[in-house]
């Protein structure tokens, strides 16, 4: 059950990938139903696995592994591990993947590389499930990069567009920077503990072993591994790739760049949580907080529907990372799960809107209007009821309004940061957390109102808008249902009494006692004492955010322009994404161009100059000896009279590059003489 089933779940999408890549174009309907069906089957199997695992084996951890390779005397094993974390994550991944497969049938209809698209979705699902299932940090890294390459292929799906291939490159390379850190971290762990498995690494650490015998290296290893999460989960300062990744098809954004792959970083931190020192966790918490704040401020100022959602994703990921950093482990992971549902919903909803806009613009033969710019929308509510109502539920959930799943998880995170600050006085974290909660409610309702309410920006476009077909609306409805509270806890005002909280328990820290974060009971007590305050505060702030959005964009009692003016440089900075892209371009892209050109010059001028100089000198010697040779030989045979004449010809002959014959001769005679001598 817990060895074969996960392997089947893992391999089904891989099989789908292989089938689609080789036979996709020959299958009926280019294989879309086959791919979707196989993914749905993995979903069913994953649900069965989750129910069995959490239902009757909640406290157990199942692992199985095999020897991959033996190097020297060290055996490296690969294997899988099923705990509640993995079982829940399996369902999240397969569910969103199945819905995205379904949604794409209509959304990608008629695409030039339709079956290729489904093949890559299969490759992605396989790699993502690999990350979830592995018991081993090396194998995690392997799948980590494989999701990276799937993401690269899917962002660049429409590679005829330069902007798409640029975005794909940026995504992969920026992720590589994070992976570089992760790789160093993995090397530190392996060199110190001779194993890649989480279990063995934790055991060694809890037995008092430290990497290179130093506490600093243990913290460093944790932070370096976290670098992988910084890349993949688009955390500051590597968040710049995710907004560009929106160049990919929208269902891809929903699956990879909202619900699953970008959450892998959070999953990674949860996996290695027991080995993180208090210092490492502090770094993680602050990185998360900075990310959440930066991204939220940018999201307010964007007009591209997908860009707003992209920055919102970055911000929410920052939330999860911050939650793990402060020790609110369960809350952070729960937010991953609830966010996966409502953010996938938001992206698919956006996809539905873009799809409708495209169809309408197509009918009008309008190729200039941007189908993703919310300033061209407005009033879509009447035309797209299902999209509208589901989008409303998703927006309420992400804003943290009670009765939604988002309220449950966000509330616990807020309580966690507040509790953290009562323990050690880091009050900046809860301050950021509550601010971001307000900002989120504001920018999400801004997006919602401009898109669906009010008057249409262009009546002609609106006239052509139609509700999307069933394959697209059904996934929206499923995800909307999953964005309600009762799937996670029957108490709408407290997640901690639900099954989720009893299934996912914060693991004990393995690091030496002096380096440990505040122990769980201490933390738990602090959370309990601030929980009510946090909840009331979070509801007030969320409602305030929503209210403000209605004032500005629905009632227009406050002018958005004036607000922007008053914010001055803050608004300018946020609109320009705080100039990260410009700065990175100037420093890293231009920097590497300068270095590469300088090195090329060095290579071609200095090193080759020396080589060619040496060759010229050799040639000179050769021609001198050639001249002597010629003169003597000619002198003996023909007398000196005609020498000058002929020497000129021969000399030029030598100088046109026949030195090699001399060298050949030298070499050959050397070898021959040597053999003869012996």
């Amino acid at each position: 059950m817990f060895t074969n089933l996960p392997i089947i779940i893992l391999l089904l999408p891989l099989l789908a990938f292989i089938l689609m890549i080789f036979f996709g174009n020959k299958l009926p309907r280019k294989g879309d139903w086959l791919a979707t069906g196989m993914m749905a089957l993995t979903l069913v199997l994953s649900v069965v696995l989750l129910i069995t695992k959490v239902g009757s084996h909640s406290a157990e951890v199942f692992t199985s592994s095999f020897d991959w390779v033996v190097v020297g005397s060290k055996t490296i094993g690969f294997g899988i591990m099923i705990d509640n974390l993995a079982a829940i994550m399996l369902v999240v991944v397969t569910l969103v993947s199945t819905l995205v497969h379904l949604f794409s049938i209509a959304y990608m209809k008629g695409d030039v590389r339709y079956s290729r698209y489904y093949a890559y979705l299969g490759l992605f699902s396989f790699s993502m499930l690999g990350i979830v299932l592995t018991n081993n940090i090396l194998l995690m890294y392997v799948f980590w990069e494989l999701v990276g390459i799937s993401s690269y292929l899917l962002i660049g799906h429409w590679y005829e567009k330069k902007s798409a291939s640029n975005a794909a490159n940026k995504a992969f390379i920026v992720n590589r920077v994070g992976d570089f850190g992760m790789f160093i971290g993995i090397m530190i762990l392996f060199i110190s503990f001779s194993s890649f498995t989480f279990e063995a690494i934790f055991d060694s650490i809890s037995a008092g072993q430290l990497p290179f015998g130093s506490e600093g290296w243990l913290t460093a290893a944790g932070v370096l591994i976290f670098c992988g999460a910084v890349g993949k989960s688009a955390q500051f300062p590597l968040h710049v790739w995710l907004p560009d990744a929106m160049e990919g098809p929208t269902p891809v954004s929903a699956l990879i760049h909202a619900a699953t792959m970008v959450a892998a970083g959070v999953y990674l931190v949860a996996r290695v949580f027991p080995m993180l020192t208090a210092d490492a966790l502090m770094v993680i918490a602050y990185i998360g907080a900075i990310t959440a704040l930066i991204a939220a401020t940018i999201a307010i100022t964007q007009f591209d529907i997908k860009k707003v959602l992209a920055y919102s994703t970055i911000s929410q990921l920052g939330y999860m990372i911050m939650a793990l950093g402060v020790g609110a482990y369960t809350a952070g992971f729960m937010h991953l799960v609830t966010h996966a549902a409502f953010k996938a919903g938001l992206f698919l909803g956006a996809g539905s809107v873009i799809f409708a806009m495209h169809a309408s613009l197509h009918k009008l033969h309008d190729h200039d209007t941007d189908a993703q710019d919310i300033r061209n929308m407005g009033g879509l509510k009447a035309k797209m009821p299902v999209t509208y109502w589901t989008f409303l539920i998703f927006t309420l959930a992400i804003s943290g309004i009670p009765l939604t799943s988002g309220f449950l998880s966000k509330d616990e995170i807020l309580a966690g940061t507040l509790a953290f600050s009562t323990i050690n006085g880091h009050w900046l974290l809860p301050l950021v957390a509550f601010t971001v909660a307000g900002l989120t409610a504001f920018y999400m309702f801004r997006l919602f109102i401009i898109t669906f309410h009010g008057k249409a920006a262009n009546e002609k476009i609106l006239a052509g808008v139609m509700e999307s077909p069933k394959v697209m609306t059904i996934p929206l409805m499923v995800l909307a249902a999953l964005s309600l509270f009762f799937f996670y806890s029957f108490n709408p005002f407290g997640a901690s009494s639900g099954w989720f909280y009893s299934a996912v328990v914060r693991p004990a820290s393995m690091v030496p006692e002096l380096l440990q974060p505040a122990a769980y009971p201490v933390f738990y007590e602090a959370v309990s004492s601030v929980h009510t305050i946090a909840m009331v505060l979070s509801i007030i702030i969320a409602v305030a955010g929503v209210y403000l959005a209605f004032m500005v964009y629905q009632q227009k009692k406050i002018s958005a322009e004036k607000l922007a003016q008053r914010a001055g440089f803050l608004y300018k900075g946020a609109t320009n994404k705080w100039y990260f892209d410009e700065m990175y371009n100037r420093v890293f892209v231009n920097g590497s161009h300068v270095i590469m050109k300088a090195l090329r010059w060095f290579d071609e001028t200095i090193i080759d100059g020396i080589v060619n100089g040496a060759a010229t000198v050799t040639q000179l010697f050769a021609s001198i000896s050639g001249w002597i040779d010629t003169n003597i030989v000619d002198g003996l045979v023909n007398g000196t009279a005609s020498t000058a004449n002929r020497a000129g010809g021969l000399l030029s002959h030598i100088q046109t590059g026949k030195v090699q014959t001399y060298l050949l001769f030298v070499l050959f005679s050397f070898v021959v003489l040597f053999i003869l001598f012996l």
Partner: protein
């Protein structure tokens, strides 16, 4: 272990079967081009079969390196013997072949690449007879180096490679072929002289007592040179940690560093690659470069363990510089072939870094990287060749949108590209992983700097893919045809290996694990 076919050892077969092919090629009439091609294909095909047999029966547990007893498929015959030379004594040169875990993968690589090189040479039209004759001679030279255990024999094979290579570039190459060929020749020639001098110095320093006659005999036997007890009193290279031993190490190192090629001895490679015809580039990058690192492992490391340890930090640093420098230079190129040439410098730097770790992980990673890089870079050069055949262009900016036009080809080429950027699941990752793991244990900071190379590599590979394969297909490329069956055939074995060894490298690592572990122990014990 011995394995004879018609009374002749398998290693002799695998080395000299191309010579047989060459003789047949020379006897065939000029016009009969297909017979010439097929002869070459059969000769190298037989090599592949023999390599397969060797792979199947090779004893994974035997150590080799310095222990004559545990070499496999050994053949040892007295070749040249001079009884009494004044103040030298008896001289003997042996025809001494054998392989261990260090050489076995290289045998497999050489035979495979040589065979694929023949397939990709199929459309060479200029002087077909001469081309294939030289090609087969080259293959014998390469194979010979990997099996020779007598230094003199090693040297002969080493020099035998030089001439055909020179002519293959100089006659069948591109517009600047003369310059490239001379540059290649001078570089390797200088290296050859250094090796020759060191070989002679070693010869006069090493003598063993013939058990039959009790006579003290100078020898070229590489294994004897590894035993400190065999050094004569007062010999130039006798003793431990002497200046002359350092000098000798350095002379050999320069010779091998030129072949690898290691910064700053590398500038012959980009020119040679750019001018060489595709199959020769494949051979050059696929096999020839490995001779450099192989030489270090077969000769420098076990004969001079003291000097190796003395210079090892320097060597690791050169590896690091090659990795970063090669990667940046690759990024700066706008010629597809030059880009791959510089990427080879970068990837061979990983080999050097790995073996410089002087531990088993690094050593295994390094040797596996030699094999993997051979396979990957062959795919890359074949990829350029496919485009060059169709368009006679190599500039990165001459292309675009090939993915739409030639989807099959692009799929295969991109697997090669991804393997080169170290994507997990493909073979390049495994060997880079172990090289870096080993190196990290020995040199923290050098390795950390080297690992930044994976970011630069991702940069230039993806940028290349974008420029060549992605984007809109321009008008001028709109009639490009996808791969022919012959072309598919030359890609498929390599791609299969890239994926198989990426997922499950154990069959390759098992071959060398014991030998390389032994080599590490041997060096760290100072050659005792």
């Amino acid at each position: 272990m011995e394995l004879n076919i018609f009374g002749i050892g398998i290693l002799t077969w695998i080395v000299f079967i191309p010579i047989v092919g060459m003789i047949i090629v020379l006897l065939l009439p000029d016009k009969n081009r297909n017979a010439i091609r097929w002869t070459a294909a059969v000769a190298t095909g037989i090599q592949v079969v023999l390599a397969g047999i060797i792979f199947a029966v090779f004893d994974r547990a035997k150590l080799g390196i310095n222990d004559a007893e545990s070499f496999q498929f050994m053949e040892k015959y007295s070749w040249i013997t001079v009884e009494a030379v004044p103040w030298v004594g008896r001289i003997e040169i042996n025809y001494f072949l054998g392989i261990d875990g260090l050489s076995v993968l290289m045998i497999i690589l050489t035979s495979l690449i040589a065979f694929i090189g023949v397939i990709s040479s199929w459309n060479i039209d200029k002087m077909v007879k001469g081309y294939f004759a030289l090609y087969l001679l080259l293959v014998t030279g390469m194979m010979g180096v990997f099996v020779a255990l007598d230094f003199f024999l090693f040297f002969i094979f080493w020099e035998v490679m030089l001439l055909p290579m020179y002519f293959l570039i100089g006659l069948w190459g591109g517009p600047r072929r003369e310059y490239a060929a001379i540059k290649f020749f001078i570089y390797t020639f200088v290296g050859g002289i250094l090796m020759l001098l060191t070989m002679l110095a070693l010869y006069f320093s090493v003598a063993y007592t013939d058990p039959a006659t009790g006579q003290s005999v100078h020898t070229f036997n590489i294994l004897h040179m590894m035993n400190p007890a065999n050094y004569v009193d007062g010999g130039l290279l006798s003793g431990v940690d002497t200046t002359w031993r350092y000098v000798a190490w350095m002379a050999l190192f320069i010779n091998f560093a030129i072949k690898i090629p290691l910064f700053p001895f590398h500038t012959w490679l980009p020119d040679a690659h750019v001018e060489a015809p595709t199959p020769i580039s494949v051979i050059l990058a696929g096999v020839l470069l490995k001779l450099g690192t192989y030489g270090l492992l077969r000769i420098n490391f076990p004969i001079f363990p003291d000097a190796t340890v003395y210079f090892i930090y320097f060597m690791a640093a050169l590896g690091m510089i090659s990795i970063i420098y090669g990667a940046f230079c690759a990024m700066a190129q706008d010629d597809f072939k030059k880009l791959i040439a510089y990427s080879s410098i970068s990837h061979m730097g990983i080999v050097v870094l790995g073996i410089a770790a002087l531990n088993t992980q690094g050593m295994v990673g390094g040797v596996l990287q030699m094999f993997n890089h051979g396979i990957i870079t062959a795919v890359l050069f074949l990829s350029v060749g496919v485009l060059y055949d169709r368009t006679k262009k190599r500039g990165l900016y001459d292309f675009g949108g090939i993915a739409t036009q030639m989807p099959k080809y692009t799929g295969l080429a991109m697997i090669g590209m991804f393997a080169a950027l170290g994507l997990p699941g493909l073979n390049g990752f495994v060997s880079e992983l172990f090289s870096f793991l080993g190196a990290f244990e020995a040199y923290k900071w050098i390795t950390i700097i080297s690992v930044t190379g994976i970011i630069i590599t991702a940069g230039y590979i993806l940028w290349t893919i974008q420029r060549v394969y992605l984007g809109k297909t321009p008008e001028k490329l709109a009639d490009l045809k996808d791969l022919t069956p012959r072309e598919v055939l030359m890609f498929v074995p390599l791609i299969v290996l890239i994926i198989l060894l990426g997922i499950y490298p154990a069959p390759a690592i098992e071959l060398m694990n014991s030998s390389l572990s032994h080599l590490v122990e041997f060096i760290n014990a100072g050659g005792m």
